[in-house]
C-alpha cells in the first residue's frame, strides 16, 4: 500500500519536474540580441549586445558573434562571451568604415539585430567644394608631436633651401653672361 502511494506521488511529481526543467532550460536559451552603441569620452564606439531569453531575462555565458558588413558580405570581427547580465561589448575605432554590424548568440540565427555605426558624412566634399575650404589649418596644426614635424621640415627644408641656392647661383650665372656684376673665379 505504502509502495503504491509512493509511485502515485512520483507519478504526480514527474510531470511537474519535467515542466520545471523545461522551463528552466527555456529561460537560459538566447532568444533575442539587442544592440546599442555608445560613444565614450575617448571617442571610441562601444557596441553592446544584450542577450535575453524568451522572457526577456539576461542570458550569461553564451557566445556572441559580432559581424560587420563589408563589400564581400558579413565579416566576423569578434566572438565575446556574454556576462551574467547578458551583455557582451566590443569597441570600434571612431573612424571605422563599417556601415552595419550585427551580433547573434546561439544557433539558428536566433536574435539577430543590426545597428548602424556609419561614419558621419564628411563636412567637406571632394572637388570644387573642398577648394572653397582651402586653409593652412589642417596642414600646419597637427596632432603629431613637434619633433616629427621638425625632423621632416629640417630634411626637406634643407634640401629645398639648397635647391633655391642653386637656382640663385644660376641666376648669377645668367647675370654674369649679360655683363652684370658677378664674383669672378680665377680663370682655369
Amino acid at each position: 500500500m505504502r509502495r503504491r502511494s509512493r509511485w502515485a506521488v512520483a507519478g504526480w511529481l514527474m510531470p511537474i519536474l519535467l515542466v520545471g526543467v523545461a522551463g528552466a532550460a527555456a529561460a537560459g536559451t538566447p532568444a533575442k540580441v539587442g544592440l546599442t552603441r555608445q560613444t565614450g569620452a575617448d571617442g571610441l564606439a562601444r557596441i553592446t549586445a544584450v542577450v535575453t531569453d524568451a522572457d526577456g531575462k539576461p542570458v550569461g555565458g553564451t557566445a556572441v558573434t559580432f559581424r560587420v558588413k563589408t563589400a564581400f558580405g558579413w565579416l566576423t570581427v569578434a566572438e565575446v562571451e556574454s556576462r551574467s547580465d547578458g551583455t557582451a561589448v566590443i569597441v570600434l575605432p571612431p573612424t571605422s568604415l563599417h556601415a552595419e554590424i550585427n551580433a547573434d548568440a546561439g544557433e539558428g540565427g536566433v536574435g539577430t539585430l543590426a545597428v548602424s555605426v556609419a561614419r558621419p558624412e564628411p563636412t567637406v566634399r571632394p572637388g570644387r567644394g573642398m577648394l572653397g575650404t582651402l586653409s593652412l589649418q589642417p596642414g600646419l596644426i597637427s596632432p603629431y608631436p613637434p619633433p616629427q614635424i621638425l625632423f621632416v621640415a629640417l630634411i626637406l627644408g634643407g634640401i629645398w633651401t639648397t635647391y633655391a641656392y642653386l637656382v640663385f647661383l644660376l641666376a648669377r650665372l645668367r647675370r654674369a653672361g649679360r655683363g652684370g656684376v658677378g664674383r669672378h673665379a680665377p680663370d682655369a
Binding site: 563589408t70 563589400a71 564581400f72 558580405g73 558579413w74 565579416l75 566576423t76 571632394p126 572637388g127 573642398m130 577648394l131 582651402l134 586653409s135 589642417p138 596642414g139 597637427s142 603629431y144 616629427q148 614635424i149 621632416v152 626637406l156 634640401i159 629645398w160 639648397t162 635647391y163 641656392y165 642653386l166 637656382v167 647661383l169 644660376l170 648669377r172 650665372l173 645668367r174 647675370r175 654674369a176 653672361g177 649679360r178 658677378g182 664674383r183 669672378h184 673665379a185 680665377p186 680663370d187 682655369a188
Partner: protein
C-alpha cells in the same frame, strides 16, 4: 680652354650628333606615330576608368594595388640610374661615363614623370588628391612618397639641365639661323652662357653640389617607395631590408635600361664614335656588380622567412616559391637575373669559341627544340586542348616545362660563341631581360602579398579574391611605357643625347682635364 676650329665650332663627329637632332626618317615618324597611338589608346582606357570607376580594372577591396603600382615602383626604380651614372661616377672620376651620362639623366627625368603619374592613375577618385595634401597624415609613407618623389623630380630636372647649359649655348649659336622655336628655346635655356670665368665658377659649384645632394635623395626616394609596403604588417612586406633591397634592384634595372638606350641611340643615330664597345663592356661590369648585390639581397629576403615558414607567411611563400606565382618568380630569378649575369660573363671565357666546333652545340637545332617544346607547352596549356582527353595534362605540362628549360640551356650554350663575337648584342639581350624581369618582380612583390592577407579573404564574390589585370590596366601600362619612350625620343631631338662639351677632347694627349667645367666652351 678648348681650341675652336676656325669657322666651325664642331668636329665631324659632333656634326653627326647634331644631325641626329633634326634628321628624321620614315621609320622615325612611324615610331613616333605608333607611340602616340598607344598613348591615345591608353587615354581611352583611362577615360573609361574615370567614367565607370576602378570596377573596370582588376582592382578590388583586397587588391588595391596591382599593375599601376607595379609600374610606379618600376619607373621610380629605373629613374635611379641618373644618380648612379651622373653623380656617383662623376664624383669617383670615372671618365668613361661622359658619353652616356646624359642618356642616364634623361632616363631619370622621363621615368620619374611616368612613375609619378601612376599613383594618380591608381586612384579611383583622383580629384581627392588634394585631400592628401590638406589632410595628409605625417606618419603615412604615402605622404613621405609624395614629398620625396617631388623633391627628387625637382633635383633630377636640375641635374639634367645644369650640365646641358654649355651645350645649349652651342646649340644657340648653331641654330642662329634655324627655326624660331629652337632659337628662342636655346636662348632662354642657355642663360646667357658665354663661358666666362664667373659663369664657369657658378656652373662648377652648382654641379658639384647637385652631384653630392642627388645621391642621398635618390636612395631615400626608393627606400621610401619600399616603405609604402615595408611599413605595413603583411606577409612578404614585413621586412627590415626592403629599403636596400629596393635600392639595389633599382640600380640594377636602371643600369640595364641605360644599356638598352645606348644600343638604341648608337644604332639609330650612328653614334659609334661616341659609344664604343668598351662602353658596353664597362656598363656590363656595372650591371654584373649591381646584379650580384641584388641577388644577395633577394636571397636574404626570401631565404630567411622560407627557412622558418611561419604559419602566417606560409600561404604567401608557398604561392611565390612553388605555387601559383612560382613561374613568374622563378622567371625573374633565372631569366631576369641569372641568365643576364651569365650572358655578361661566360662569353668572355677564352674557351668559348671552341664550342662552335662541337656538332651538338649548333644554335639552329637548339632553337628548333626550344620553339617546338614551347609551342607544345602553349598548346597543352590552352584549356579545352584535345590533349586533355588523351593524357594527364598536368604531367605533360610539367614534362614540357622541363623540356623548355633543358633545351633553353642547350640554346644558351650554343649561342655563347655568337655573343662573344657580338658583346653589344649580349649586353642588349641581358639588359632587356633584366628590365622584363624587374617589372615582373615588382608584380610578384605586390600582388601575392595582397592575395594572402593575415585576415583571410572571406566570402568574396567570385573573382574578387584573385587579381587579374584587365585591358584597361594593360592599355594604361602600355601608354606609360610609350610615354616614357616618346619623352626620351623627343628629348633627343631637342637636346644632344650625348654631352658635346664633356666629350670634346676624349682621347687627346692632354685630355687629363678634358670634360671639366674649366674646359666648357667659350662663345
Amino acid at each position: 680652354m678648348i681650341e675652336r676650329r676656325s669657322g666651325d665650332a664642331f668636329s665631324l663627329r659632333e656634326h653627326a650628333l647634331l644631325a641626329s637632332m633634326h634628321a628624321t626618317s620614315r621609320s622615325y615618324y612611324a615610331l613616333v606615330g605608333g607611340l602616340v597611338a598607344v598613348i591615345i589608346w591608353g587615354l581611352i582606357g583611362y577615360s573609361m576608368q574615370l567614367r565607370y570607376g576602378l570596377g573596370v580594372t582588376g582592382l578590388r577591396d583586397n587588391f588595391m594595388w596591382g599593375v599601376y603600382i607595379t609600374n610606379f615602383v618600376f619607373f621610380i626604380g629605373v629613374s635611379h640610374v641618373g644618380a648612379l651614372m651622373s653623380a656617383i661616377l662623376r664624383l669617383t672620376g670615372a671618365e668613361w661615363r661622359r658619353p652616356i651620362t646624359r642618356m642616364a639623366e634623361a632616363i631619370t627625368f622621363a621615368s620619374l614623370l611616368m612613375g609619378a603619374l601612376m599613383p594618380f592613375v591608381d586612384m579611383g577618385r583622383p580629384d581627392r588628391f588634394l585631400n592628401l595634401l590638406l589632410h595628409g597624415r605625417l606618419q603615412s609613407p604615402i605622404l613621405w612618397d609624395i614629398m620625396s618623389i617631388g623633391t627628387y623630380l625637382a633635383g633630377s630636372t636640375l641635374f639634367l639641365y645644369v650640365p646641358m647649359i654649355p651645350d645649349i649655348a652651342l646649340l644657340r649659336e648653331h641654330y642662329a639661323r634655324g627655326p624660331a622655336w629652337r632659337r628662342r628655346l636655346y636662348t632662354v635655356l642657355a642663360l646667357g652662357w658665354r663661358g666666362l670665368p664667373a659663369q664657369k665658377h657658378h656652373l662648377e659649384t652648382v654641379m658639384a653640389v647637385l652631384a653630392v645632394l642627388i645621391i642621398p635623395i635618390a636612395i631615400s626616394v626608393h627606400t621610401v617607395v619600399s616603405w609604402i609596403m615595408g611599413m605595413t604588417l603583411r606577409a612578404g612586406w614585413n621586412s627590415t631590408i626592403f629599403g636596400p633591397y629596393f635600392v639595389s634592384g633599382a640600380l640594377f634595372s636602371g643600369a640595364a635600361a641605360v644599356v638598352t638606350a645606348m644600343a638604341a641611340f648608337r644604332r639609330a643615330y650612328h653614334l659609334e664614335d661616341y659609344i664604343t664597345v668598351q662602353h658596353f663592356k664597362r656598363m656590363g661590369y656595372l650591371v654584373i656588380t649591381l646584379g650580384v648585390i641584388y641577388a644577395y639581397f633577394t636571397f636574404a629576403e626570401y631565404w630567411t622567412p622560407a627557412f622558418k615558414m611561419a604559419g602566417h607567411e606560409r600561404g604567401y611563400l608557398s604561392a611565390v616559391l612553388s605555387g601559383k606565382f612560382a613561374p613568374l618568380f622563378w622567371f625573374t630569378q633565372i631569366g631576369g637575373l641569372l641568365v643576364p649575369l651569365l650572358l655578361l660573363t661566360l662569353p668572355t671565357i677564352s674557351r668559348v669559341p671552341r664550342l662552335r666546333e662541337m656538332p651538338m652545340l649548333q644554335p639552329r637545332p637548339a632553337l628548333a627544340a626550344v620553339a617546338a617544346s614551347a609551342g607544345l607547352l602553349v598548346f597543352v596549356s590552352i584549356s579545352g586542348s584535345p590533349a586533355a582527353a588523351l593524357v594527364d595534362v598536368a604531367a605533360l605540362r610539367a614534362l614540357l616545362t622541363w623540356a623548355v628549360a633543358v633545351f633553353g640551356v642547350w640554346l644558351f650554350v650554343a649561342l655563347l660563341p655568337l655573343f662573344r663575337e657580338r658583346p653589344v648584342a649580349a649586353a642588349v639581350v641581358a639588359s632587356v631581360l633584366v628590365n622584363i624581369g624587374a617589372w615582373i618582380k615588382r608584380f610578384v612583390i605586390i600582388v601575392p602579398t595582397l592575395q594572402y592577407p593575415f585576415l583571410p579573404i572571406q566570402r568574396a564574390p567570385a573573382g574578387w579574391a584573385i587579381y587579374h589585370p584587365t585591358w584597361v590596366e594593360w592599355s594604361i601600362t602600355a601608354a606609360a611605357l610609350a610615354g616614357f619612350a616618346l619623352i626620351y625620343i623627343l628629348f633627343s631631338k631637342v637636346f644632344p643625347i650625348v654631352s658635346i662639351w664633356e666629350t670634346r677632347e676624349q682621347g687627346a694627349p692632354h685630355a687629363s682635364g678634358a670634360g671639366e667645367v674649366a674646359h666648357a666652351p667659350a662663345l
